[in-house]
């Protein structure tokens, strides 16, 4: 699994090995798993839903399910990250079904305390424009595009998470990207593209 946090990078151990240590009562393993997995599924849920307050609850719920499921974990089971993505996906989809409202206007800006140089500002505008456009995609296309192009997962793992075939993943990502390109084409000049 991608590991964007410095704390999570302090260990080369796999998620599965850390989970075994967690089950045996190792507090450090719990901390490493938290620091490694939480940012990943937080970013994923945030991109899926675009609502920060609900995202916190969903991420906490998903991680709690991991802790509770840990003693029943089998080594030959799916990867921890695949399992956790699947749980988070289901929670996000349930949430979207319950709250069928337009989330586009409620998309919060990503907080960033660092000073914004011009190219960094442009990069941030691009990121926010992409997030807005992602929220306009149908749920399954959005999910496939996020997992493939933002979380960097391979198609077979995405197929496992979404419980569909690899061909279906390719179809969803392809259609999702085409739709994204259409949605973003009007904003090219604003976003700094001079091609």
């Amino acid at each position: 699994m991608m590991d964007p946090t410095p704390d999570g990078m302090m260990s080369d151990e796999s998620d599965e090995a850390l989970l075994v240590r967690y089950i045996s009562g190792d507090t450090a393993a719990a901390r490493l798993l938290t620091m490694r997995l939480t940012p990943v599924i937080y970013a994923y849920a945030y991109r899926m839903l675009g609502r920060s307050s609900d995202v916190d609850d969903i991420v906490q719920d998903a991680m709690l399910r991991l802790w509770k499921h840990a003693p029943k974990w089998r080594q030959d089971e799916a990867k921890v990250s695949t399992w956790l993505y699947r749980v988070t996906s289901n929670l996000c989809i349930d949430h979207m079904r319950k709250k069928k409202h337009d989330t586009i206007d409620q998309m919060p800006e990503i907080e960033d305390d660092q000073p914004l140089a011009e190219d960094r500002l442009q990069s941030r505008h691009q990121s926010q424009a992409l997030h807005q456009a992602l929220l306009e995609l149908p749920g399954r296309q959005r999910q496939a595009v996020i997992l493939r192009h933002l979380d960097g997962l391979a198609n077979p793992q995405i197929a496992d998470i979404m419980d569909i075939s690899v061909d279906a993943v390719e179809s969803l990502t392809s259609r999702g990207k085409r739709r994204l390109a259409e949605l973003l084409s009007d904003k090219k000049e604003v976003l700094g593209y001079v091609r």
Binding site: P4, Y22, I23, S24, G25, T27, A30, R31, L33, T34, M35, T38, P39, Y42, A43, Y46, R47, S52, D56, V59, Q60, M63, L64, W67, K68, A70, P71, I110, D112, S123, R124, Q126, S127, Q128, A129, L130, H131, H149, L150, G152, S174, K177, R178, L180, A181, L184, S185, K188, L191, Y193, R195
Partner: protein, 115 residues
Amino acid sequence: MSDKPGQKDDLEDMFRAARQHAPQPSQDLVARIMQDAMAVQPGHRRPLQWLRRSLIQKQGLSIAAGLTAAAIAGFYIGFMSPDLFGWTVLSGFENADYEISYGFSSGLNMFWEEV
């Protein structure tokens, strides 16, 4: 299904930008997740758990002691003065003619039957 060359590059730039500006969880959320991890971790001793367990054991002992004392007192009263016991308890029914009928209603409850 193929993307136009310029379109593909633009999207790749935007994906790269989104990866750089990934939303991050708050410290508060991370702390709550760690608390959950500790709370359900197998074999994790929660603070003051020994005290709680000890109190439950002591409470169990005191309940057992209370029940034993009540049983002894009841037996003593019944054995030493059964007339007094009968008069006290049944005096409220002296003007009514009741018999206690044990049976099962449709709700499987015991019931009183007036005769």
